[in-house]
Assembly symmetry: C2
Homo-oligomer: 177 residues x 2
């Protein structure tokens, strides 16, 4: 098992950062504008990027401390993995310790997702500090797997895989209604 780890510090109260992680409106403002579902323990959140995306079961919502999800639908490599955000105050900063845990293998798609998570966490930081994040489809592009258009992302070429699709399942994007 291998994990993606990150740390960002946000000049904010614990509660302001927590709200950006624990509410649908917050998540839609830094990760993907197309965020649906209910952010409550036992509920499922649907994050969509173009036509594809991830479904996350909400495992923990501990105000000001922790948000934890488990992936129940999405790219094969993501199914069953857990995505968590632990918060603590350190002076003027809320520290976010991020973990995407339980990858079976350190595949190339995991390298991509690691960089992409960092970019989205910087979007979270920007949202909370300035009121403006950079959620999909206006996210910062990192490589040829997220070219930014749905048609590119879901192209037939295995090189057109995107954030929402991993090697071997270029048609993942069509799972959604």
């Amino acid at each position: 098992m291998v994990d993606i780890l990150h740390r960002v510090g946000i000049k904010s109260s614990l509660n302001d950062t927590y709200q950006a992680l624990a509410t649908r409106e917050g998540l839609a403002a830094w990760w993907t504008t197309n965020t649906q579902g209910e952010s409550k323990v036992g509920g499922v959140l649907q994050f969509r990027f173009g036509a594809g995306g991830f479904d996350m079961k909400v495992l923990e919502l501990d105000p000001g401390k922790r948000v934890l999800w488990q992936v129940v639908e999405g790219p094969e490599e993501w199914i069953g993995t857990k995505v968590g955000f632990d918060l603590e105050q350190d002076g003027d900063f809320t520290i976010v310790l991020f973990k995407h845990q339980g990858w079976k293998e350190p595949v190339e798609f995991m390298h991509h997702c690691s960089t992409k998570w960092a970019v989205f966490l910087m979007s979270l930081k920007s949202l909370v500090e300035t009121g403006k994040g950079a959620p999909d489809p206006n996210d910062v592009k990192i490589d040829n797997w997220n070219c930014g258009t749905t048609s590119d992302d879901l192209g037939a070429s295995p090189h057109d895989r995107s954030w929402h699709g991993g090697r071997g399942h270029p048609r993942f994007g069509r799972m959604s209604p």
Copy 2:
């Protein structure tokens, strides 16, 4: 052993990206402006951030394919770890697969370094694509461990540790002349 992994895609030739990784001038333009030493196999490169930094022994320089270093001086957690960049062409993009391998434990400092590497790899991408990177001291700040000034970075408080220092060695920055 745990690793930091990243993937960026750069619209460039293999050689242009390789030059940014294999030459002192290239490295100084995206990682830290204070880069000294010789980029040759068996040589040592000195990367400084404020007064602290890392010494890297150059293990491999394979034109258009790979750059590999080993940390020989720096924060305790970094000593002996390896930092590698593998390159491959994919259409218009040079893909950089980045690995910082051999961390003993997934400490909080590793979370910080993972995010910080992503930010610096985006600086590399920007440098090669546009001619302008964001190396230290003009790097994008991610948290309270790199506030951007030497006095902050080397403060007595354990919370003032920076990119060049890890938990438990706040005075690491003073190793340099």
